[in-house]
């Protein structure tokens, strides 16, 4: 089934289910809204007497479709019912966001794609083609998952602090509460798969490491921690390539001459296209960090420079 056909049918069925369950004061619509990863097609659920709405990613629902539309519809309407109390919490959420004294301890760094439409009115710092923003964790709001809000220009002005101060607070909180963590990629994969009977060689000669924070949530932002590159060089034993595998982590590959940026970029594009959910995408290219010059640059630029240097030396 094509996406547009699915969307039409899905929305009709959701509307029907809402009526069947006699859920009052709820209207649904379809809107394209601005998200950190780009514009996204959403099913919007608006509630009477509330400014907060629920916004479900239709493309992801379509990708999960396995022929059981009824199951997906029931699941979504269950979620709507479970979150109807959002109206009661609305005032609390607003006052939390607006109150700098309460919010300041919950500001963290977050790395998002550098072409995100959210950046037009958001204080940010570019790191190559990615953007570092300040993210507010709204505590005690969602039971499943985390509730966040990216700090926009208007809110920064309301807080009465500078952009530098905002990022300093977010960075200090992140470093203190979500410390940097490195883990060998293969060990991590094995532990995540929970395959106890898998043979794990004693000496795996690890050349790939995951760099993230302790919770593994929005962990790609660790590259903005003050001591990140120093610790990464120590872990990798020298220069390395950085793969933006998702907004939650980077994969670091030792630059031992065994791989190049072109190959890595092909892998990244393939995973982005076939495996990664759009909301988790960070970038479509790798980066390189030179341990000697302490320089971060796009992987292709580094490879080109090295190639030219070699040609010039002949």
């Amino acid at each position: 089934m094509e996406y547009d056909e699915f969307k039409k049918m899905f929305m009709e069925e959701v509307e029907h289910e809402i009526k069947a369950r006699i859920i009052e004061g709820v209207t649904i619509s379809n809107e394209e809204i601005r998200s950190p990863e780009g514009m996204t097609d959403r099913l919007i659920v608006k509630m009477e007497n509330s400014n907060i709405s629920m916004a479900f990613r239709l493309q992801e629902i379509y990708e999960d479709y396995d022929g059981r539309l009824d199951v997906q519809v029931e699941g979504l309407v269950d979620t709507i019912q479970e979150n109807m109390n959002v109206r009661e919490k609305e005032a609390d959420v607003k006052s939390f966001i607006m109150d700098f004294e309460r919010a300041k301890d919950h500001l963290h760094l977050r790395l998002i794609p550098g072409d995100s439409p959210a950046l037009s009115d958001t204080p940010h710092v570019m790191i190559e083609d990615m953007a570092l923003v300040s993210n507010l964790d709204i505590v005690g709001f969602a039971e499943d998952g985390r509730t966040c809000a990216i700090i926009c220009d208007a809110l920064l002005a309301h807080y009465g602090i500078s952009k530098d101060e905002l990022f300093e607070i977010a960075r200090d909180n992140s470093v203190a509460m979500e410390p940097l963590k490195f883990e060998a990629l293969e060990h991590k994969v094995a532990s995540l798969l929970q395959e106890e009977d898998i043979y794990v060689p004693v000496d795996m000669n690890n050349t790939a490491y995951i760099a993230t924070n302790t919770s593994g949530f929005n962990g790609a932002s660790v590259i903005a921690y003050p001591d990140f590159y120093e610790k990464a060089v120590e872990t990798m034993g020298g220069s390395f390539y950085m793969i933006p595998s998702s907004v939650h982590e980077f994969i670091l590959i030792k630059d031992d001459g065994g791989i190049n940026a072109k190959t890595l970029n092909a892998v990244i594009r393939d995973v982005n296209k076939n495996t990664l959910k759009p909301k988790d995408r960070l970038s479509s290219q790798c980066y390189h960090y030179d341990a000697k010059t302490k320089k971060l640059e796009q992987g292709l630029k580094f490879d080109k420079r090295i190639k030219e240097k070699k040609v010039g030396a002949r």
């Binding site: 916004a55 607006m98 208007a154 990629l185 994969v189 060689p201 393939d270």
Partner: protein, 56 residues
Amino acid sequence: MRSEEIRIPEPEIIAEDTDKGKRLFVYASALSEARGKSSGLMAELEKTKNAVGENA
């Protein structure tokens, strides 16, 4: 500026990262292949590839 005049950012509820295992497995596998070698662990993990796709 009075607080009620500010358009606050719409909070987003982000589900926990449940795709981590699948994503990292795909990367580990692809990188191993790109380097033209497969470690003992990756060879073993390859056997579970289908299971991951089904369970992730």
